[in-house]
Symmetry: C2
Subunit: 339 residues, 2 copies
């Protein structure tokens, strides 16, 4: 290792701290590659997500995220993909494109944020790479996980219930508050804090995913995470062969999101349906598991809400006021990085 | 999937072609994550490399690489890390930061180059991610492999022989020819083609690594690949507890490299020692395996050259004319992206 690279690597290693070791890590950072022991009888799950300054986060200006929040978020969104398969996110590899002017202390803080998310969800950081990307910070995080029976997006059936964990709209509310500036955030009071935290530190639903996966195919038939928005991710679960109807009154839109929407003159329902970045789990619950699935998730420390039903009408999404209603069409729109 | 993202993904999928399936791929691109079956009894090996336009390659100007070469190279350098552990590079995940002005056709060509390297070494592309990085192209490729007994950089002993596969200096010669411009390349004649090809399409030594790994710890005790340069990568194998002496006359510097050096007014030996990017395997061969190791690599279709010996003097690299000579000090310098 040369002197120039060594200084950056020292910041990375210091920031990562204890996150470099963990379950199944036979050899971590330092060799040409990591060597890992996959638990016997489990499948390997692999996912990658790249985030770019100016597109997924800001480092400067009123909407700036701290380096630690950037690191947390970059890992959490990939941990969420593993959670969406009902798996455990065991290992991560993280590549960093460092821009001009970013200091070693900032790199260290970013890695410390990454390490926080790693520790929170049982992930070890086993590899990485540093490069220079002069104009903006780029992070690319691969997460490897294990599951005995990985769930997939395919498999929902007409009559299955639409389940979603946690809460909806908080991340979109947080983004609106960031965009709205200091004055709006002050006006929103306590509600602002909860929504900003949801935007900055998404919580991948790992325990919830494991609980749902453990119910077997008679319990949960398909699952994904809500990254681009409830409606568009639900359309993906429908997969061209199904439709779905959502029950507006069943959507878990927390009080803080409603308060933030009132402050900002926005519609909390739109945030919940189309805002994205909630990183909740969205699943198809077999009707017979309508009681067991929420109970299992509650035992895991989370919450599962039954918010709608899959139908046999391909490609048709509808929004009704409540269960049994017919409602109106729901556009499958969400966040599109290339729009 | 939204329309904007869909157009880019279509280019990626078209470029990758058949490379999206392969050994152990239970579920590939298309879900939240890939699902993979690791061969029973093998360890998982994982590595990642990020390459950035302007730092690792150029897309414009006289040194421009084609999109296909960029794709090949980005995958090959990570396949080489797996080869360096004696493993098979089974699966890849590739993130692409697409700059402004890059066309879908260029993205497709890049992915086709990546698919060529995938097919050449038995790798399936099982995941990926697209983002926008306005100023320059960024590729980050994770490769996952499997090995029954992964080799590492640690384990060389005094008296072990230094082995290297293939040839040295060709990639550095190719880089010098790219930098030297069209006139120099024309003056070098046939030699130029071989060196440019080595720079543009590095060949990870997967079959060689498997053959060396199969010799067991009594055959090869430590291995890495030559990415930053023979001298600096050898210093890493020495690991602070050993030294090494190289035998100049044993270094596999091909005629084309010598010819290119003569044309360019450069020193072929310097390219071989410090040029880097050769992606050959560098290993510690037990003295008892001095005949068996080259034979095993030859049977695998490659070549292993014994080019020196590890010594008991920590941190001391020397260069002698030939075996038995004492020679002079060899600086452990190489390529440093942060220098």
């Amino acid at each position: 290792m040369s002197a120039g690279e060594a200084a950056w690597l020292a910041a990375v290693v210091s920031g990562l701290g204890a996150a470099v070791s963990g379950e199944g890590v036979l050899r971590g950072i330092g060799d040409d590659a990591a060597v890992l022991a996959l638990p016997a009888g489990e499948s390997l799950i692999a996912t990658v997500d790249m985030v770019v300054e100016g597109q997924h986060f800001e480092r400067r200006g009123p909407r700036a995220a701290t380096p630690a929040d950037i690191g947390w978020r970059a890992l959490a969104v990939s941990q969420s993909d593993i959670a969406a398969m009902g798996g455990r996110p065991l290992w991560a590899l993280s590549s960093l494109g460092v821009p001009d002017g970013m200091t070693a202390a900032e790199v260290e803080a970013l890695c410390a944020g990454l390490a926080e998310a790693a520790a929170a969800y049982g992930t070890a950081v086993v590899g990485g790479n540093l490069a220079r990307n002069p104009e903006r910070l780029v992070l690319d995080v691969t997460v490897l996980g294990a599951a005995r029976r990985p769930l997939s997006r395919a498999g929902a059936r007409p009559g299955d219930l639409v389940g979603v964990t946690g809460r909806l709209g908080a991340a979109a509310a947080g983004l609106a508050l960031l965009r709205g500036g200091e004055r709006l955030r002050a006006a929103c009071g306590a509600a602002a804090g909860e929504c900003l935290q949801a935007q900055r530190r998404p919580q991948p639903r790992v325990a919830e995913g494991l609980a749902l996966g453990a119910l077997g195919p008679q319990g949960v038939r398909a699952m994904c995470d809500v990254s681009d928005g409830l409606a568009i991710d639900l359309a993906r679960l429908c997969g061209g062969t199904l439709g779905a109807v959502l029950w507006r009154e069943a959507l878990p839109v927390p009080a803080a999101v409603r308060a933030a929407a009132a402050c900002a003159g926005e519609d909390a329902l739109q945030w919940a349906l189309h805002g994205g970045e909630d990183y909740e789990l969205l699943c198809a619950v077999a009707p017979e598991a309508a009681s067991a699935a929420p109970r299992a998730v509650a035992r895991a420390g989370g919450a599962l809400h039954l918010i709608g039903e899959f139908t046999a009408t391909p490609g048709e999404l509808r929004l009704a006021a409540r269960r049994g209603g017919r409602g109106g069409p729901l556009p499958a729109s969400g966040w599109d990085p290339f729009a």
